[in-house]
Structures are given as C-alpha cells and as structure tokens.
C-alpha cells in the first residue's frame, strides 16, 4: 500500500506557543487511521495544520503534492474534506444548501444532484429536513450533515475532528457504522481524531498516540488497543 498522506518534522504554532514538535506519521490509501491523545495533546492542531489553518513548518505531502504554503481552499480542492470540531454548519442556510456547498468546487452538476440523493439514502433524517434552516437541527443531525457535506466533495481523504462530541451514545454508534461503510464502499481514506478511544479503535486499522505535540506510539489498531499504557490512559481498564 502507498502512503496517501505523509507528514514529516511538522511544527505548528499559535502565536509564540509551539503546539506540535516534529510530528511524523503517514496514512495508507484506503485506510482508517485514528489519532488518540488527551486534551491539548495537539490532535486538532494536526488536522488544522493539514488544511493550513494554523502556522506550521515541516513537510506535509498529499499524494506526492506538498501542502504547506497552499491556501486552505486550494488544499480542499485537491480532495481533502475536513469536518471541523463544532461541525461548522452553515446555520442560516437550508440543509440542502449545506450539501450543495460541499460540492461547490465541482462542476459536474448532474452527478452533484445524484450525490445529494445518495447522502439522503445514507442519512434519511436529512431528507426529511432538507428545506429546514440547518441551525434548527439537533447536534446529532448537524454532525450527520457535516459528514454528508464533506462527502459531497467526493474526497480522497476525510479528516474528522471529534465526530462523537456532544452526541448521545446510540447516535455515535450509528455515525461510526456509517463512517465504516463510507470507507469500505466509497474508498475514502479517513483520519479521525477522537476522545472516545474505544470506538475509534474499533473503526480504525491503524492508530497513533500523540502526547504534547509528539507521536509517542504507533501500530495497528488492535496492537494499540491491547497495549497496557493505552488501556490505562485512554480506555479506562
């Protein structure tokens, strides 16, 4: 398998504060990878660095293409969809407009409308509410919408920042099931950042553990799940 995303010696900064220290990891095409870590470890920063939403140095390569120095919108156009923390819903627009916006960089109009129908098949609740202002959706529905919006790009890589945040456990189960199906059926490579380590490890093929801006452990999801330190720190048994 070839690496779709390759990160080397990545440093990231918020003003004077350095949040990432020489981060290195890679993602295999078609895989699901998870980044685990405590609050403030640098998980969100890593995702933001990939989309150039935080000042960073080092090297990030997507399919051989260097990303550093590209603007956020140009990185998205390469096929990287980012579902941000807090979901980034366009609250004043309708559900359907939110989906159309996910595909705003595409010019194949008829394929876009069939993709919208496909999203409604994945997430039936969005179809029921397609003319509603997106801000009136519940948290879970907005998260579904955010994932659907990201898929409208027909991305090669999807970045998910804490998709389970603030959702009821049953809804989280559903969401992760759908993510797994998307990965298998649509061949989308997924990088997911999660506090809910157990769920993330069930979904993922590969996992990295990040502490204070450095990768401290890496391995297949099952290896990581069996590792004693990880179990104690993140799985709670």
């Amino acid at each position: 398998m070839t690496a779709l995303l390759n990160i080397k010696a990545l440093d990231a900064f918020y003003g004077q504060v350095q949040a990432l220290h020489g981060l290195e990891f890679s993602l295999n095409e078609g895989s699901v990878t998870t980044l685990l870590g405590a609050n403030g470890a640098g998980k969100t920063t890593t995702l933001r660095a990939i989309c150039n939403m935080v000042r960073s140095t080092g090297a990030i390569e997507f399919d051989g293409e260097p990303l550093l120095g590209r603007s956020t919108e140009n990185i998205v156009r390469l096929g990287i969809a980012h579902v941000p923390q807090g979901r980034g819903t366009f609250t004043t627009l309708t559900v359907e407009e939110n989906l159309q916006l996910g595909a705003i960089t595409r010019s194949d109009r008829s394929a876009v409308s069939s993709d919208i129908e496909r999203m409604y098949a994945h997430f039936p609740v969005l179809k029921q509410r397609h003319t509603q202002q997106a801000g009136t959706l519940s948290g879970g529905e907005q998260q579904m919408l955010a994932v659907a919006r990201a898929l409208m790009l027909r991305p090669r890589l999807m970045l998910l920042d804490e998709p389970s945040f603030g959702l009821a456990p049953l809804i989280v189960r559903d969401l992760f099931k759908i993510l797994g199906r998307i990965n298998r059926e649509e061949k989308v490579t997924i990088l997911v950042v999660e506090q809910n380590a157990q769920l993330a490890l069930e979904l993922a093929d590969h996992a990295y553990v990040i502490e204070t801006g450095r990768i401290v452990m890496s391995g297949s999801a099952s290896e990581i799940a069996d590792h004693e330190d990880v179990r104690k720190s993140y799985l709670g048994y």
Binding site: C51, M53, S71, T72, E73, V76, R77, A81, H82, P84, G88, T89, F90, T91, T92, L93, E97, Q100, L101, G102, I104, T105, Q133, G135, T136, L137, S138, G139, R149, L153
Partner: protein, 292 residues
C-alpha cells in the same frame, strides 16, 4: 385624497433610491460586519463618471452600462487596496478607513468636476406617467429599475453557485474555506456589487437632486435609516425599509405641521434611533435560530 395618493407614490419612488443604497450598505455589512459610511460618496463618484461619459458623447444607456461595469471594478479595487489589509483591524480603524474614503472621494470629485450644480438627464422624461398627474415618468422609471434590480439580485443569490458561495462566506467564513470557497474574493465581489448597485441609485436620483459632490449625503442617511429599519442582516428588509422610509418621510413632511421640507432629515434620524431602541434586529432581520 389625491394629495395623499400622490405623496405615497412619490414616497415609493424616492424610496426606491433609498432601497438601492440600503441594499448596497447591507451587502457590505453582510460581508465584513461594518457599515460603509462612504457608500453615498461612491455612488456620487460613479454618477459623475456617467455624466462625464455622456459629456464625451456616449448615449445614456451606454454610459449607464459602462458606469455599472466601472463601478463594479472600482468597488473591487477599493476593497483590495484599502479594506483587505484592514480585515483583522479593530472596528475604529475600519471606521476611520470609511471616513477617509468618504473625504477622498468627495474632494476628488470636487477637484475634477468642481462644486457647481450640474443638470443630469433622465432617460424616462418627466411627463406625467400614463397621463396621470400622480407620478412622473421618471419616478415610475426609478421604481421600475429598482424592481428589476431586485429580481436580478434575488435570482443571483438563490439560483447561482456564486450567489450561494457568497451567502456561505458571509454566514460562516471558516466553513466556507473548508468547502473550497475563496472567501477573500467573495468579499471583494460583494464590494463590487455594492458599488454597482449604489451607482444605479446615484444615476437615478441625480435628475431629482442635481449632480454635485454633496448630493448623496442626505440620501445616505435615509439609506442607513432604511437598512436599520429593515434589518441589517436582510437584503429583502433593506428594500422594504427603503420604500417605507420614502413614504414615511413624505407623509410626515406633508401632514405633520411644522415638519415641511426642512425637517424631513431629522425624521430619518429619529427613525434610526427608534428602531435601535425598540427592535434592534429591524423588521426583517432574522433572529438566528439555534438549538442549545
């Protein structure tokens, strides 16, 4: 009764101009969250350009179209040059920028075309409209052009991809970038469109107030009143607000003793303050629904 109908219709026709200015103000407010105090002067400058073109022999509608295009480009130019660098600056810096722009445009217009009052032609003529004495053809033309403009804008924002992208960029800029929208250019586009809409207002009102560098000062205050009344977050509200302000201004001038022509302007200011105190979101400013 005829006086009453006449005042309403006249109010609607000047209201059309306030609606255009209010619309231009709202467009920029949506894009950058600031009130453009120079909107009137931008419109005035555009109107002078169209006058100059006509002096050079360009026919009215040719000059009208050319001015629209030049104003659009001018608006983008101003945004790139002056307000893009101020994007992250505090609010007062932006206000200073607007005031500077106002002063620069006003003085340059005076320098280039001097401060004497100039006649400005109307393509509609000033005969009674359809034989009725209630309204002139120019007033009817003002209403007609505004309504056409509104329909065009509605179609643009509802049914085109660029329109959707502009609404998204105004709604949540960060998410807009994450779906691949160049938000910085969307703001510039908003400026260009606002400048073009303002130029229409200027060219339509110039035959009524005559062309001179200070012609838009009063109009801008009415435009602000209209935007505040309709709701600064609602283009539709801005238009309704424009028509309402035009009508209220005329009726108050006619029927409230002591107001007359001289005290019409304070009515606009009183309206602004009343709305801000009683209903700060305006008539149509959408209170954003959010679940917690």
């Amino acid at each position: 009764m005829e006086l009453f109908t006449n005042q309403i219709l006249a109010g609607i026709s000047t209201g059309a101009i306030y609606a255009c200015i209010a619309l231009a103000v709202v467009m920029i407010y949506q894009a950058i969250d600031h009130l453009n105090f120079a909107q009137g002067e931008m419109a005035m400058f555009s109107t002078f350009i169209s006058w100059q073109l006509m002096q050079w022999g360009v026919p009215y509608w040719g000059a009208f179209l050319l001015t629209l295009i030049l104003s659009f480009m001018g608006g983008i130019f101003i945004e790139r040059l002056l307000f893009k660098p101020l994007a992250k600056a505090p609010i007062l810096t932006n206000v200073a920028g607007f005031i500077a722009l106002l002063a620069i445009l006003n003085s340059s217009a005076g320098l280039i075309w001097d401060f004497t009052i100039k006649e400005y032609p109307t393509p509609f003529g000033s005969a009674p409209f359809l034989g009725s004495r209630l309204i002139s053809t120019h007033q009817a033309g003002m209403i007609g052009v505004t309504v056409l403009l509104l329909i065009a804008l509605y179609v643009f924002f509802t049914y085109t991809r660029v329109g959707l992208a502009m609404r998204a960029a105004a709604s949540v800029p960060e998410s807009a970038r994450l779906v691949g929208i160049n938000t910085s250019w969307m703001i510039a586009l908003g400026w260009g469109m606002a400048a073009a809409i303002g130029s229409i207002a200027g060219m339509l009102i110039a035959p009524v107030v005559f062309l001179e560098p200070n012609m838009m000062l009063g109009v801008l205050i009415y435009g602000f009143a209209a935007a505040v009344l309709g709701g600064l977050t609602s283009p539709f509200g801005a238009v309704i607000g424009g028509f309402l302000v035009g009508v209220i201004e005329n009726l108050a001038g006619t029927y409230i003793p002591g107001v007359g022509n001289e005290l019409k302007l304070p009515i606009a200011l009183a309206l602004i303050i009343t709305v801000l105190v009683v209903k700060p979101a305006g008539l149509f400013g959408r209170p954003i629904v959010k679940r917690v």
